[in-house]
């Protein structure tokens, strides 16, 4: 009985997570990053929210001095609003808070292009991008 209940609960949790994360636009973007990752590395075994979380919270080097980390502007809690260096509010990065996050390929390309250059001083890899989106879709 206990086991059945736990199973049902976890099923509901998984379903809810899947529902929150599932969006045709976002799925397509993730699929494109996955294909790119596979092309670069045949051993690619899927995106990891844990890796995405680490990437999000790390202080990187190589980027612009004022923005060493994603958290500089987006704060350590992706479910909360961030703030640009010019003081403008940024909607929470977490998909659970901002459902249309990562659904517009142009927007995604623009911001990865800008912010990877700003924070890391280079383009992000397909794996990093996919992990990032997977992490922020998982909460």
């Amino acid at each position: 009985m206990k086991a059945v209940l736990a199973l049902a609960l976890s099923a509901i949790t998984v379903a809810a997570t899947a529902m929150a994360a599932s969006n045709p636009g976002r799925d397509a973007i993730l699929a494109a990053f996955a294909a790119e990752a596979k092309k670069a590395d045949a051993g690619f075994a899927g995106f990891s929210p844990q890796r995405g979380q680490a990437f999000f919270a790390t202080n990187h080097t190589g980027g612009k001095a004022d923005t060493p980390s994603c958290t500089t502007c987006h704060t350590k809690d992706p479910t909360r609003e961030g703030q640009t260096r010019a003081g403008k509010q940024i909607a929470p990065m977490a998909v659970s808070m901002t459902p249309d996050r990562f659904t517009d390929p142009e927007k995604v390309a623009k911001w990865f292009s800008r912010n990877c250059n700003g924070v890391l001083g280079r383009d992000c890899t397909a794996v990093e991008k996919g992990d990032f989106i997977t992490y922020l879709s998982s909460m």
């Binding site: 612009k64 923005t67 640009t84 260096r85 010019a86 003081g87 800008r114």
Partner: protein
């Protein structure tokens, strides 16, 4: 009749004091009721001048012998009388004008820039008071009429020479120097109103001449306006000095006269004819002059200001630039700065703000169309002079730095403002590029210090 000097009333033996008649004209020998030999108050007659028209003199021998003598007033040196010199409207005008001038000075020198509204109101009050005084110069009572203080230049120079020798002649109304000062004050005040309106229109794009005056004209008027203000302060000081000197030399209490309307003057001085004021004619004239003036001012104020083009915000500019920072109005940088800024988006004030080429081109076109060169506003003119070291940064422009130097730095980092580039946190009209003084609302300083 004045008994407060210890003088006694003296009548000639040939006349009965009781049957004396009040003098109606100057130089007349008068016998007020005071000639009864009592000391019961003043014999203020009801003549047109409403002056205390009884001359009094007594010598020690008179007192001893008991002989009563009345002499023509002109022969009596120390006799004084009270004359109603300033009617109520003139007195009100004087003190209201003082109030308006002090208000104008205070709102400019002490109050924050947001008080421009009140400075302008004080200016309009000065204009209205001057208009009234101009009308009252023809319909007021004797000493308020301009005809009573028109002196020839030679008279004025002669008076000033005598004044230099501390022997100026005494006048019931305005003396020649005072009259000259009044004309000068009126001229300078009128010029202050005029230059103020042109400055308001040309520089601030507000008020009745905003549609006519351009920024250069407004700037010239603004300079002249401040020179005139300093001249006015010097003249007010001279005016007050004149009142003090006259008070010393003639024992005249001019300030009291301007409050009560009554002035003590030597009885020998000739009085004006005693024409009453014509309040009705003054009111009609004032209405006839001010109604068209007010209508013209209101209509002119509604015209669109010169050099403020109608701008339709480009939606791509609004969404792309507005996603990271407040939208900086295109008039806040010259074309060259916008062009350089759009060329350097990959290192945009420490951020990569790269855009797709087509998007960047569209935004660039919009910025070039509405850059500072396209505007005649104060912000466009002043901020066109960019910082040589940092030509893309609006907050580095010399004018920007100068204008914000007294703002507590803590305000810029306060939660309500966050950063210097957040114009709209204090300038509520920043989106329009106008930056009116009245639209400034600085959030409270976190350290409690007021800018």
């Amino acid at each position: 009749m004045h008994f407060d000097n210890g003088e006694i009333v003296i009548c000639p033996p040939a006349f009965s004091c009781r049957t004396g008649r009040p003098a109606r004209s100057r130089g007349d020998v008068s016998f007020g009721q005071g000639c009864g030999g009592t000391t019961t108050g003043s014999a203020r007659n009801r003549g047109p001048n409403r002056s205390d028209d009884t001359a009094i003199a007594a010598s020690a021998s008179d007192r001893v012998t008991g002989t009563l003598v009345v002499r023509p007033r002109s022969e009596i040196k120390d006799a004084v009388r009270r004359v109603r010199v300033w009617d109520l409207p003139t007195r009100l005008f004087h003190w209201l004008l003082l109030g308006a001038v002090l208000a104008a000075l205070g709102t400019e020198l002490i109050a924050p820039p947001g008080w421009l509204e009140w400075h302008v109101a004080a200016g309009y009050a000065v204009a209205a008071l001057l208009l009234f005084r101009g009308v009252w110069a023809f319909f007021g009572s004797d000493y308020s009429r301009v005809a009573s203080f028109l002196y020839r230049p030679r008279q004025t120079l002669g008076y000033l020479r005598d004044l230099a020798k501390l022997r100026p002649a005494q006048y019931v109304g305005h003396n020649p120097a005072g009259a000259a000062m009044i004309f000068a004050l009126v001229a300078v005040l009128a010029a202050l109103v005029g230059t103020g309106l042109v400055a308001l229109g040309g520089q601030e794009k507000q008020g009745p001449v905003a549609a006519i005056a351009d920024f250069a004209l407004g700037s010239g008027a603004r300079s002249l306006h401040s020179y005139l203000a300093y001249a006015l302060m010097a003249m007010v000081a001279a005016h007050i000095a004149g009142v003090i000197v006259d008070g010393r030399l003639h024992k005249s209490a001019l300030v009291r006269a301007m409050i009560t309307g009554w002035k003590r003057v030597p009885a020998r001085l000739p009085l004006a004819a005693g024409r009453p004021s014509n309040m009705r004619a003054a009111a009609v004239t004032l209405a006839a002059l001010s109604a068209p003036a007010v209508i013209a001012l209101v209509l002119l104020s509604r015209l669109p200001p010169l050099g403020v083009p109608a701008m339709t915000p480009d939606p791509t500019w609004a969404s792309e630039c507005g996603s990271c920072h407040v939208l900086f109005h295109p008039s806040l940088l010259p074309r060259a700065s916008w062009a350089a800024l759009m060329d350097g988006l990959h290192d945009h004030f420490g951020e990569d703000a790269g855009l797709a080429p087509a998007t960047a081109a569209e935004i660039g076109r919009f910025l070039q169309t509405y850059a500072a060169e396209a505007w005649d506003t104060k912000a466009a003119h002043r901020l066109s002079e960019v910082s040589a070291a940092d030509p893309l940064r609006i907050t580095a422009a010399p004018f920007w730095v100068r204008r914000h130097r007294r703002i507590d730095p803590a305000i810029f980092t306060s939660p309500a403002v966050k950063t210097k580039s957040n114009c709209i946190a204090c300038h509520r009209d920043a989106a329009s590029g106008r930056f009116d003084n009245q639209a400034i609302a600085i959030p409270d300083s976190p350290t409690g210090a007021n800018p």
